[in-house]
């Protein structure tokens, strides 16, 4: 992670500037569909969870999951296309960049997307009056952590898979279960004990707890534990994408 990695980030942002409108709408509509279908539809039957309306309960979870989806799809499909089909990594490594810096720049870009898309959802749910605390202003910091975790997971996969089709396994086996079992749509209390324990290993769970607490203003020192788990995951995962990508490209 250095100024050379920033050049890679910058290259990606220049491309982003040209396509943000289509990109945004794509990433934007889906979370809102979930929010309205589940929040209003299901919410009418559920009533309240721990004294909060259902839509208000899931809204911060939707921020978390859209950060997860955007960082992980950028670092899988997005990066694979650049690496394998467009040979952009080759072009960069033929210039004065090292592959580690290229990978770091790609990760930064996935983080950037997580922060942008997550923050837009935050703005929307705030506009709908679903945020009740100024602590929510800290959301982008949590999104940075979330972005790093999911970008690293995605890049690890990108460094290993043979074909672009193999990403469907990643989404089916990693991302979708995370989306469903991390407490986005319900508290994790009703799940059996082992699922609850497993949730601690799901990064999205910690992101959801953090964002939900910030949105409701129900904050406390326990949040530092959740943030700590994310930071620790980032530190542990950080070296792998670079190693795998270097090996994959034979560099």
């Amino acid at each position: 992670m250095n100024r050379w990695a920033i050049k890679v980030l910058w290259r990606n942002m220049v491309v982003f500037k040209k396509t943000w409108l289509t990109n945004m709408t794509f990433y934007f509509i889906e979370p809102l569909l979930y929010l309205s279908a589940m929040g209003l539809g299901l919410g009418a039957f559920i009533g309240e969870i721990n004294g909060t309306s259902y839509i208000r309960f899931i809204a911060p979870g939707i921020i978390a999951s859209s950060a997860m989806w955007s960082a992980s799809s950028e670092s899988t499909y997005g990066s694979f296309v650049k690496m394998h089909y467009q040979k952009i990594y080759h072009a960069m490594v033929a210039a004065p960049l090292y592959i580690e810096e290229v990978v770091a720049g790609e990760i930064l870009y996935a983080v950037f997307k997580a922060v942008i898309y997550g923050s837009i959802i935050l703005l929307v749910i705030t506009a709908f009056g679903l945020v009740s605390s100024a602590w929510a202003l800290l959301t982008p910091f949590v999104l940075v952590l979330a972005g790093f975790v999911f970008a690293l997971l995605g890049m690890i996969w990108t460094g290993l898979v043979p074909k672009i089709d193999s990403f469907s396994f990643f989404f089916t086996l990693v991302i979708t279960p995370m989306f469903l079992f991390s407490g986005v749509f319900s508290p994790i209390d009703p799940f059996p004990g082992f699922v609850q324990a497993a949730a601690w290993f799901l990064p999205l769970y910690h992101v959801v707890v953090l964002l939900r607490s910030l949105a409701s203003g129900d904050v406390g020192l326990f949040l530092l534990v959740h943030a700590g788990v994310l930071v620790l995951s980032i530190i542990l995962l950080y070296p792998f994408p670079q190693r795998f990508m270097k090996k994959r490209l034979g560099l």
């Binding site: 491309v15 467009q86 040979k87 080759h90 072009a91 033929a94 090292y98």
Partner: protein
């Protein structure tokens, strides 16, 4: 005596258990246009990728611009221009953006990059396409843009991996014209190719590589004179008659080579005596006399054609 710009000693590269480049040595001097000629799969891309610090060496020593490629990669890469075999332009960016973004990787300031980019677009006749997305360019234009991008940092050496493969003849000639101009300006150029015409038209010195081994080296014309002579007569005739014809013609020729039903005869004179004798063999269905070239050298040394694998 000029100092070499590239010195390679015992250079070897293996991929798993494939030995792509086997213990090769060569030197390149500043101002040269240096060719690496060989068929598909010979090890050309592997060799140049080690030169531009992309692939690590398996064994051997490689110095580029007086620096060791295993140590000073960033320093070396700052001073090289690379045009890889497969186009890897930024498809989603415009022509000018491609150049300016790439210039950024060399720490070139935006204003300087813009100036240089415009000059290069002018040189490569791409000014009209300045604001067009790369995906809409023709193959020849993409190649010219890749060349322009390779020159954005005013490199001391330009490395071209099969610069004209896949282009139509007109686009190929346009690239050659540009390369000749660059050569005149004194730029050191390294190019790989499997087109003998490209190698003989552009290169001062070259080596011929096959299956990872250098099989011959020198100036194109010298190699042709050394191995073949002045011209070649190609004959098409039934296989069973070949020995008989050869016996009859032997006094008039320097050497020969057989490739399927084609007989190649190497001659050093105008071929008048030969022409007379050929009339005695009515079963020769085709005959052509032409200047000898590098393809003949390759055929003689390996027993196969350069384009064999395509």
């Amino acid at each position: 005596m000029l100092k070499p710009i590239v010195t390679a000693k015992n250079l070897t590269k293996t991929y798993g258990n494939i030995q792509a480049v086997k213990n090769i040595d060569f030197v390149i001097f500043p101002g040269q246009c240096f060719g690496i000629l060989g068929p598909n799969g010979a090890g050309k891309t592997t060799t140049v990728a080690m030169l531009y610090c992309f692939l690590p060496l398996t064994t051997g020593k490689l110095e580029v611009l007086g620096m060791d490629v295993t140590r000073d990669q960033r320093e070396i890469k700052k001073r090289l221009g690379i045009v890889p075999q497969e186009n890897n332009l930024d498809q989603e960016l415009t022509v000018i953006e491609n150049l300016i973004i790439y210039a950024g990787y060399f720490d070139i300031k935006k204003s300087a990059a813009e100036k240089k980019a415009l000059a290069l677009l002018d040189f490569f006749n791409l000014m009209e396409k300045k604001d067009v997305d790369v995906e809409f360019l023709s193959g020849g234009m993409k190649r010219r843009l890749a060349l322009a991008r390779g020159l954005i940092n005013s490199p001391e050496m330009l490395i071209l991996d099969e610069p004209t493969t896949g282009l139509d003849p007109e686009a190929r000639h346009i690239i050659w014209q540009h390369l000749r101009l660059l050569k005149q300006q004194g730029l050191t150029i390294v190019l790989t190719t499997h087109y003998l015409e490209e190698a003989s038209q552009l290169c001062d010195q070259l080596f011929i590589i096959d299956q990872g081994v250098i099989i011959e080296r020198g100036a194109p014309q010298e190699l042709v004179e050394k191995h073949i002579g002045k011209s070649v007569v190609e004959l098409e005739l039934p296989v069973e008659k070949q020995q008989q014809v050869l016996e009859n013609l032997r006094p008039e020729i320097n050497g020969h080579q057989l490739l399927g039903s084609t007989l190649f005869l190497y001659i050093n004179d105008e071929g008048r005596n030969l022409a007379g004798k050929l009339k005695q063999h009515p079963f020769i269905s085709y005959q052509l006399q032409r200047p000898a070239n590098l393809e003949d050298v390759f055929l003689k040394l390996t027993g196969k054609g350069l384009l064999n694998h395509e």
